[in-house]
Symmetry: C2
Subunit: 655 residues, 2 copies
Amino acid sequence: MYFRCGLTLLYKSLYTPIGRTPQPIWGSLSRSLVLSPQRRIPEEFNSFVARTNTCGELRSSHLGQEVTLCGWIQYRRQNMFLVLRDFHGLVQVIIPQEESAASVKKILCEAPVESVVQVSGTVISRPPGQENPKMPTGEIEIEVKAAELLNSCKKLPFEIKDFVKKTEALRLRYRYLDLRSSQMQYNLRLRSQMVMKMREYLCNLHGFVDIETPTLFKKTPGGAKEFVVPSREPGKFYSLPQSPQQFKQLLMVGGLDRYFQVARCYRDEGSRPDRQPEFTQIDIEMSFVDQTGIQSLIEGLLQYSWPKDKDPVVVPFPSMTFAEALSTYGTDKPDTRFGMKIVDISDVFRNTKIGFLQDVLNKPQGTIKAICIPEGAKYLQRKDIETIRKFATEQFNQEVLPVFLKANRNWNSPVAKSIMEEQRLGLIRLLEIQEEDVVLLTAGEHKETCSLLGKLRLECADLLEARGVVLRDPALFSFLWVVDFPLFLPKEENPGELESAHHPFTAPHPSDIHLLYTEPEKVRSQHYDLVLNGSEIGGGSIRIHNAELQHYVLATLLKEDVKLLSHLLQALDYGAPPHGGIALGLDRLICLITGAASIRDVIAFPKSFQGHDLMSNVPDYIPPEELKPYHIQVSRPADSEAEKSLLNHPPHPET
Amino acid sequence: MYFRCGLTLLYKSLYTPIGRTPQPIWGSLSRSLVLSPQRRIPEEFNSFVARTNTCGELRSSHLGQEVTLCGWIQYRRQNMFLVLRDFHGLVQVIIPQEESAASVKKILCEAPVESVVQVSGTVISRPPGQENPKMPTGEIEIEVKAAELLNSCKKLPFEIKDFVKKTEALRLRYRYLDLRSSQMQYNLRLRSQMVMKMREYLCNLHGFVDIETPTLFKKTPGGAKEFVVPSREPGKFYSLPQSPQQFKQLLMVGGLDRYFQVARCYRDEGSRPDRQPEFTQIDIEMSFVDQTGIQSLIEGLLQYSWPKDKDPVVVPFPSMTFAEALSTYGTDKPDTRFGMKIVDISDVFRNTKIGFLQDVLNKPQGTIKAICIPEGAKYLQRKDIETIRKFATEQFNQEVLPVFLKANRNWNSPVAKSIMEEQRLGLIRLLEIQEEDVVLLTAGEHKETCSLLGKLRLECADLLEARGVVLRDPALFSFLWVVDFPLFLPKEENPGELESAHHPFTAPHPSDIHLLYTEPEKVRSQHYDLVLNGSEIGGGSIRIHNAELQHYVLATLLKEDVKLLSHLLQALDYGAPPHGGIALGLDRLICLITGAASIRDVIAFPKSFQGHDLMSNVPDYIPPEELKPYHIQVSRPADSEAEKSLLNHPPHPET
């Protein structure tokens, strides 16, 4: 999935402009990035080093030049040719055959593949007919005069170019080799350049100040999932914060006006796929700003920093309320690249004879909803529908009724004969049903039916795409603001109490402030999420800047221990300006842009989904004497046999 | 010390160009930074917000414009005028007195100082004679038409402008207020802009890739001082690394070619003045580079990013071997802003009759050395000399002989009459002694005498400056490379064994490689330190890229457990390119540039010297149940009464 998708995008950007057939050629991928024409000043890759040129940059315009190159031996052909690689690309080197160059020949013929060599020679034309139009340096080759073996390479655990066959565990174990792959080079270089453009936009264009905030900090009230760091004072710990939230607000109180940071954050969630114990966010806060201001800032930021090999970002982004997102897409992060929206069809069935629909509609919150899957009858098989119905029953305890529209316009459904002609016409109108479509229908309370159909919508999209339907253009980036979230949610374990939908510093919606003291559960917030292709890539809010209101929210509504936040409450009392901000999840954003399968593919040294560094065996045991200065000891309860056995026989590394 | 020195520098940069008398005016300080003329594109501070202008930017050119400003009330005069402040500067606002504007007047007259207000009005000229030439906005004032109180301020623990009187503990406790001071605004903004320029140089000009490396990593072999982070696997820990050393080398093995990162690093040294448990370094690594290459890169980096309000950096920087630094300055980080160099005067005393000098010279390593303190006889008092001699005896177990040169050319010293005329002339020639100078003379082994005189040299410089002598120009930035360090040092606790002078990945000097197998203690390294005004601001080296050599150094010479580094050794075997790098200590560098008294003054939220965050009471106790998922418990040994009493009566916060 990753390589298909990733490479498709890469090839598109690389080859489409020059009209060649897409074909994977090593090293050419990073080229579009490193020599992109929009740079104001060309980068100098050969400053301060022995080489005169990179392997990937040589062209016919260099003919006759004496060059010195440093790189890795990609492969060798018949002891005649050698392809040398660096981060920039590949170049063909001719191994000299004459007696006088015997030592050069020996070096170049005997060095194993992936050995590092330095060669000096002349750029010459390839003989007519031997040019390789698929290779950026395909018109030239190097006539070598001198060569030096800089480092020899042992037998590799996998071939660098043979990326398809290796498992992720193997890639992570030999990450330093995996980093040589074109995908990783492309992903990391794109990430670096995009972040640099973001910095230019924030710092140089809009007067933001890049400020580093501490990562050895205090436990957040109610914030589980924080790593602890023992100090040398017995019983006292630092915590690694999940975000610089408190600091960014305190910076506004400190008059810094516009803050940003590419901030390292920490979250201990144990084993979760596609999450990392440490991750990076573009963290932003502004004074004297409202929701529109932050949204415009971010739209400009993404537009400015967007990679030039992608279609440009169109601003402003569309916006949708949380309520609308839920009722139309069944989620707070809708993938708006395709339709199949949720439609409320309760009215169609007001007079239905179908028993369970009647039952639902007789309840006060009862609704009937449906999605229409275009050409579903053509692409979805019986067993797909069975899987969907089973999923609905097991995960949501809900019934889903499929309605197939065959080409002959016969409706094929367990309830088909109970649907009257008038209802049939109503459904066709509301759901815009066409021949060969499938309708999935469910009944129940608003939120549950929406959530279920939202999941089924994505599930069906995946199914259709697996059958070859192009539903989501891989070149399309569909941004969406989701706004007007509820400020509070009922606590899961105790629905009589409230918890923050996002965090306790979020300001209430100006129109709803009066409800705070009467019906707080109805208050909307000034929180906003940024969604890209159905993934949440950022979120932020206007914050509470009034100490009294903040105290009321924390102490009265959320029943938090305000002592843990006394410094923040005090700060709000000393002339805190109105302020707001946002944080973008950088790993996720780059992952979506590069089309990587996992955020691990846009991080140089990621942890496995179990939180391990497979390369260096991390985390690891530490001798008890090294824990002494921190006044901690490992507790191994005697009654936990399972745990003891785990200690004696640690699990195998992930494979 | 801090404010004197810091302000002197600031005023110089701010006022010298416009020829006005230096005088502290709030908010004008950041001006030179934020509106510096060298920016290619002017920053837009008013984008996305309600204000039309910043307080500090208004000039006669804005006359007649309708403006909206947001800021803090700096002070109010007779309910007639109000000075409004933002990060950019100060502006005078006229409080309307007419009846129709009663509500505006009420807001502006009743809001306490440091309250946050938004005002709208017209920019008008100050009446003739009332201009304030010391205030950048001193030609204009604002005729207010509307005002809104955005947030009221309670009684402050200290006045924002009254920065001289508050203790550092108070500043740290209310850091969000301290950040409003001109010093902190200047320091943090200068830091942000300098780092941005460094990024432009590295990323945009020289093709470096900004790569984030993990901070949850593995214990470094032999590396004490690393914080541990318990994981959810019993007995297993992450460590917070002191630098990304291993990762940067692995990135080179991964073919990334040019890496940089503004890297957060961690070091647990307990309580140490002017050190922070977390700090930041500009971390750089390059492939195919030598020592000269890295040095040129860094010289260019500092030249490019150097603040425009300071004298430009002159490159290349001078270079000195470690041996020369030790024998001339008695330290590996010489302050080369002034002379008073150490001179070996052994030859002068070959035939001396002075007993203890004779004794020393008769030993194989014995030397006699001296420094000459210009005008020392004029400025140093008897008690200073006594302090110096006492220091020498107590700290170095060495005798120091002072020789005073009075104006009458009589030498005044305990040994004066034993110094023969020929020796006297020899001393005058070698030490370039002039009238009124003082010579400090000591005898012993080379290293000890150099170290002692190096310390006394700095001690005397401080003394002279305290007496008003200008020895070190505060506008002077004196860079120096120190090179050719020893690769190994004898272990302090066991001089028969070796330890790395810097770290075990440092490559030996090419000329000394053969000595590795015979006399490793004599091998010089390819390590280089960058020194600025007597402080080490950076260090780096060419690394070992040969697995066999690295294994020999680690296992045979250093007796380290190579298993902890097996991944690195393996990586070197798989085609590691030659590589080298450097790390600059950002906090220290910015501290020296801004003339701050402590690195805490260039960090937004620093820890106290005891590792505490005084604002939020960090580190703090954590309930035992929150430690359970990490399988640790706090160990409070019953036999340690002192520790128990500490637990019951925690020490008072730092004051």
